[in-house]
Amino acid sequence: MSEIAATASGVETAKELGLLAEEYQKIVEILGREPNFNELSIYSVMWSEHCSYKNSIVWLKTLPKDGPHMLVKAGEENAGLVDIGDGLACAFKIESHNHPSALEPYQGAATGVGGINRDIFTMGARPIAQLNSLRFGKLESKRTQWLLKGVTKGIGDYGNAFGIPTVGGEVYFDACYEQNPLVNAFSAGILNMETDKMISAKSGGPGNPVFIIGSFTGKDGIAGAAFASKDLTEASAEDIPSVQVGDPFQEKLLLEATLELAKTGAIVGMQDMGAAGITCSTSEMSAAGDLGMRIHLDKVPTRQADMKPWEILLSESQERMLAVVEKGREAEVKAIFDKWDLSCEQIGEVIAEDNLEYYWHGELCAQTPAQPLVLGGGAPVYYREHREPAYFKQYKEFDINSIIVPSDLQATAKKLMAHPNIASKRFVYNQYDSMVGTVNMSTNNPTDASIVNIKGTNRALAMTVDCNSRYVHVDPKVGTMIAVSEAARNIVVSGGVPSAVTNCLNFGNPYEPEVYWQFVNAIKGMSEACTKFETPVTGGNVSFYNQTVIKDSTEPVFPTPTIGMIGIVEDKKHITSIPFKSKGDLIYMLGENRNDISSSQYLVNIHGVENSSAPYFSLEEEYTLQEQLKMTIRKGLLASAHDVTEGGLFVALMEKSMSSGLGFDITSDSAIRSDAYLFGESQSRVVVSVNPENEDAFIDLMMLNGVEFDLLGHVTKGAVRIDDVSWGDVADYKEIYDTAIEMQL
């Protein structure tokens, strides 16, 4: 130990690495001495927000995490695992890659896709489909256009080569994301509980060899976790070496080799190397197994010859795994990686004591117990102060009567259809391979949630990512309940049953009490809604510091707790899609129309009014609506269904029309302002079409449960008529909708 003490690093270095003075003292207590630079580097990344969740864990623990379908709960393994029937389980998770994407959109987004897929297949599940949730500044800004193009290409190039379809997602534009875009990537995989073996992320068996698998370790992405745990500033561009570089080809090989390896049973545990690379994977696997590891850093294959121990410890080079293998079966494992032309090197072994020992050419260069490094072990846990911001009450004072109904509603409708938050995102999604794998059932039959076929069964998987962050901003608790509700509604409307949730919590700086108030209330809302829908939270990630310091002003992004939800379609005949099916079908609204334009795209983008509260929402009403929908769909009474969200009823009807080529003829409700009727975003509403033959049965069923419903009109051949006035033809609106975004690029 003498050489370790001799090179002790002080508190000043600790601060430079992003640690607090009190955290430095804690490290000294744990080690019983001053840490050296290598050790300080280890602690700085492991105790960064990104790895330790130190400012969020207290609240995350309040989320419901158990449900009837849970096989692996939040925090137990790399991702949650849910029973989806027929002996199959689904592993799924969402993660952010915001900060890297802000600096280098192409690689930042690409490696986000790589990281989330590794989380899935490290468990032994083959990824089956991906989603993503993206947020940018205003589309007219040159920076946004650069970010949008780069992020889209990055996600596409990585996901397309990796060969897993991107089946859905969301894209929003708002000035608050101008400097700090959000890039949240979701992946879901399937594991056959009978024939496949789940791979644990726990170490086991002292004496077992430890291998590093996949790409060589380079200087890219060093200390990326620490970088992601601070504010973005003008100086952030100097952090570009913190952004990793992705290689989807290696990832594809790693996927095939890992799944082949899983079948052998020679693997004890495995974890992918994401944030904090070797440091994080060795400490988390060890802590989870209540063991230690002896690691020889000089045995790690490197890209550059002159890498130092701390660089190897902290490198976030992509497409790498740490694996603990059963002693005696090394040759079997190596043969699989040879087959796939992948590197597989033994770099150490498991030891019985809770101690991580890192050697450099035979000399101990760092050592620490594993437990104090990790979440749930000794990593710091902070209770942060929170304070209600002044805007919260002020927004609630919004009065709809202060807004004058526009004289030309048709022009308003066309303007809304062209708004980037509503217009077609085909510029983005056409760059993603959405059909590889031949499982995407929504390509030719669009649905609110993406429907993924589970081959060989009568089931399908429904998945969606949702968050209207404007609602969350104006009212974090209600806004987050709406995000969960919308996700569940999308699944129910499409014919599925909601099963479980993964979340990606994108917020500003947690040390700002008003930002932390948004966080706390979002968690409260999420808990309440997830409990109601029996959709436990299986995991996800927290991304703080999403705000940009420009000169002297700090601009936090809208609080954005993106909800990723999966659901099960128990019988494929339940699948209900968006497009109208036949001329003459009746159009009904399920749920109540309200005199409400709060926080609608209409209010913000047509009237320029940002200060209003969340749209009308009642969790009880939402729940009843969804239960009613499930029943109606099971009886086979709906020809189509689509929920009302951004842009209100008019946009919902248009989306049903544009995807079918058919039009609609409706009569509005004179008790409600025409702008609120057409463009308001009050929640818990679904537009359905019903074949006239089913109308009686439909009405009988609707009368049973007290859900409000209303006949709007009928489906036409292509004409759009509202209150006996011609609004033109579907094709006119479709042209505007399809081309609005690409015309600005």
Binding site: G163, K252, L253, D433, M435, V436, T438, M441, T443, N444
Partner: protein
Amino acid sequence: MKFGVVVFPGSNCDKDMIYVLKEILKQEVVELWHKDTDLQGVDFVVLPGGFSYGDYLRSGAIARFSPIMEKVVDFANQGGYVMGICNGFQVLCEAGLLPGTLKHNNSQTFICKNVWLKPASNDMALTANLDTNKAYQIPIAHGEGHYFADDATLAELKSNNQIIAYYSNSNAEVLDSANPNGSVNSIAGVCNAGKNVFGMMPHPERAADENLGNIDGRAFFESLLKNLVPA
């Protein structure tokens, strides 16, 4: 019919192709590993889509040098049936088994969407049973799908009926506005002079399962199965 589907490192449509051949068309299928040199007595070799060897140099440029491709080239030159879809088409062009080459899409972006194809003739097994006045809806998914060949080659392809299909609109009209990637003469796929080697960018195997709501691609496979002449 015994089909062999080549698996290169980076192939990612291999399993989709096997699924369609085996589960939907009930054919015998084996996987042919890129490092192998034995075609296992197959009657028909398929090079599937994907990103063989990562396609970092130029699509298909490395795959053509793999051990299995040496055997595939011999097999094709002896009249054996070979079909390449997407990346497989690129490999066949790189290997010289098919004329022409594939360039970056005019948009310089990857494009994945449904397109319409109008079969160019009935003069090959792949299209013999297709309707040349009808448009078939088949997905594309590629970054380098812009087919290019010089004028002399194009004239030859045309006069020998070696063009498989053109990109068209839903009414089977071949228009520039319906050409997704800038391919010369809207060509979506070609075969060799011997009409035993086929290559096309669109993915018929992605339009063959009723669960996905479009089975236009099945017609291509069914035409093949009906019209192949055993070697």
